[in-house]
Symmetry: C2
């Protein structure tokens, strides 16, 4: 799947946003006009920077309030469009988002709209660019993707196609199945956003409460499944207006965003496989049961990750404190026993049955004791770690000596270190043999 993100999702300057997108591994970006306007970079600078960063400039957006207007306003709108198309040529961009009219529409007439869109498409064709027409959920006359696409169909111009935005479709509860009937070459762009289900006006909901896929309640896998079954294989790009993300660290947010698309790919692949299986069970021809991967019939390539079962249990918890004596007392009172100090690291092991607590004394002075790391029992630490890394979890550096157990460690979003440990049927952990009751440290603690 070609991954993308609109610059409007991120904080910082255009340059910072673009760098963060490249680092996070996006294939392309949408240039939000305001980001370009406020940037000291020229369009040519942006074009070169994108090429150097390996980022496609996949969509210029937004172009508002074009259609359903009187002829004099249309003339003005075509002049505006002409200027944008020239700018896009300097950027080396070939697709622009045109939203259905909210503010200036006065004439509700599909044949007039088609004629006006046809003139826009013709102008776009002269500039070698394409117009992706999107129904806003709050468009004055056109607020339904099927309606917008009927207009595209009527115009039937190679430079006019549809843009599908999951928010505008799912916020209105439009049925997504008819997406499959759209010819793939007429879907010019796909934008995805999730959202919590809220009862509020849809404009505010859209502008402030969009979230990354998986963080909200929309049926995005189904939406994407229909898009894939339509035969679309172009960019799938995040357009998430969210006040928090716009103020968060740009590199971290870009990685979170990328992770949400990888998750969405996996969910969409699952939905497609389930759909293929159910069609095969119904005996619908064309979905051969011999082909386990029903999604492979569609041009959209969806990455899938190793599956990992829920952890079977906790392997250990590591607490950092600069005052270990207090914690030792507490653990002793709770019935934990001191098992020794690590032979190379400055940590203690305490246990009660198979509950294991490591005390790490390397905390900054005067900090509260806090969980620094959690160990989980999993079937295959190396596979679980591979999945986490493919989901962009940062690897935790942990020095080990040659004969010590190598833990697969990754950082959770709150920076707690997560270690993926080999579970054992009897609940024991091999690494505990690295701890020893030593006289210089252990004495006096053993009898707490």
């Amino acid at each position: 799947m070609r991954t993308g993100i609109a610059t409007v999702c991120l904080s910082g300057t255009l340059k910072e946003k673009m760098q963060a997108c490249a680092i996070a591994g996006f294939d392309g970006i949408e240039i939000f006009e305001q980001d370009l306007v406020t940037s000291p970079l020229s369009p040519e600078d942006v074009r070169k920077m994108a090429a150097d960063l390996g980022l496609g400039l996949d969509l210029y957006q937004p172009f508002r309030d074009f259609d359903s207007v009187s002829e004099d306003i249309l003339q003005e709108n075509l002049r505006r469009a002409d200027a944008k198309f020239k700018l896009m040529s300097r950027l080396g961009m070939d697709t622009i988002l045109v939203c259905t009219n909210v503010g200036t529409a006065t004439i509700d007439d599909d044949s007039l709209r088609a004629e006006q869109l046809s003139r826009l498409a013709e102008l776009a064709g002269n500039h070698g660019v394409k117009v992706a027409y999107e129904a806003l959920a709050w468009g004055k006359y056109v607020n339904d993707y099927e309606h917008a696409h009927r207009l595209v169909d009527t115009v039937d111009h190679p430079n006019l196609g549809t843009c599908l935005d999951s928010f505008h479709i799912l916020s209105r509860d439009w049925d997504t199945a008819p997406i499959e009937a759209i010819k793939p070459e007429k879907i010019f762009f796909v934008q995805v956003a999730d959202a919590p289900k809220l009862s509020m006006d849809v404009l505010s909901w859209s502008r402030h409460y969009r979230v990354f896929p998986g963080e909200g309640q929309f049926e995005l896998a189904k939406f994407m499944g229909h898009v894939a079954r339509a035969g679309y294989s172009g960019p799938v790009s995040l357009e998430v207006f969210n006040d928090v993300f716009r103020q968060s660290d740009v590199e971290r947010t870009a990685v979170d965003a990328m992770r949400s698309l990888i998750w969405l790919e996996e969910q969409s692949a699952k939905w497609l496989d389930a759909k293929a299986a159910s069609l095969a069970a119904e005996g619908v021809s064309g979905d051969s049961p011999a082909n386990a991967a029903g999604r492979r019939r569609y041009p959209m390539e969806l990455a899938t990750l190793p599956k990992v079962a829920e952890p079977a249990g906790f392997n250990f918890a590591e607490v950092k404190t600069d005052e270990p004596a207090q914690l030792e007392t507490l653990l002793g009172q709770l019935g934990f026993e001191f098992d020794g100090r690590h032979r190379t690291k400055d940590v203690q092991l305490w246990s009660m049955g198979h509950a294991r607590v490591i005390i790490n004394e390397q905390a900054p002075s005067h900090s509260e004791p806090a969980i620094a790391a959690l160990g989980f029992d999993v079937d295959s630490p190396v596979i679980a770690s591979a999945r986490a890394q493919q989901l962009k979890a940062p690897v935790v550096p942990r020095k080990v000596q040659a004969d010590e157990e190598v833990f697969q460690g990754i950082a959770a979003p709150d920076s707690t270190e997560i270690f993926l440990c080999q579970g054992s049927p009897d609940g024991t952990a091999a690494w505990t043999s690295e701890f020893r009751q030593t006289h210089e440290f252990g004495e006096g603690l053993e009898h707490l």
Copy 2:
């Protein structure tokens, strides 16, 4: 690009190979028959394991010596094929590689071959599987991909298509441009391998000297460019017979293999962009100059990475030794001066002008002094590090204190640590301020 690798490239059991492929991030694999035969896993086990690992089972291979035979041998070959197709159904696989006949071909007649392939395609259709027909470079009568594809064209059956293998094509110096004329739906599979240019019989060359893309001398970007321009967007899979890789650590080789495909994607994208630019310059219609990314017109999605210029110079070299006195003497004799010890780490800094050597005393006893790390000056360490990580270089863990410079570190293939440092116009390095002339260590060394 959907990435794949044949299990025959790797060492170990089928289970180990599959796990390594999942960890390296491949989308799918080719099951080499011998790996399945020698595995204790049942076909159903393999199918489930692949699904759990998120790996597609994209090609079953090889099926040899089918066509150009007498009717009695053909009957036997169809029985063999029937058994394979049943096995593929248990594996949930839908595509099999059939190579042109080397050993049993006795009749050189294209119309007979077409008739025999047609019967195979019909049988495959009954089982819901597809036959990808590949010209071996040493096929007895058919050893040229265009010849093989003419047969596919003649048969014109939905269950028969072409498999293109870069080795079989480039080892014979066949022109790759005609690939563009093949209908994309008739290219069932693409295999890639590189090779050094050797003067030897092509069978031995193929079986022992194939290497991963970028390690040999074939024009693979051009080959892939033609494949992309044909409209193909299916798996691109490594089939590299190499005696060394078959004995190397499986996880490491799988990562090296994946890296070579990522590199190939980038090279192919560059080739396509250059091709589009040259066609646009010639005024060939259809390659619009407005569209900077000429490759975007083709369904194959090619990932591109941030570009990074060659390092501007060395920032430092770090030498590990358990006998620092010898090294100190040597550096002193060479004209280096002692600049101090690090305030938190057990290392010394020596310099001569902007040449900086760090002595790290934490080497195992009796080991020879050796380069443990190299620092390079780059424009943007964070971008260079992102590129390295996208190319699967492992991140080097390095603990830093809050106010110390964070180095972007990755491990080179020989495990030397590579640090990407911010170059400065005057050749200085900010981190040197973390070193101090302390009396307890420094004295006595300053006047060496």
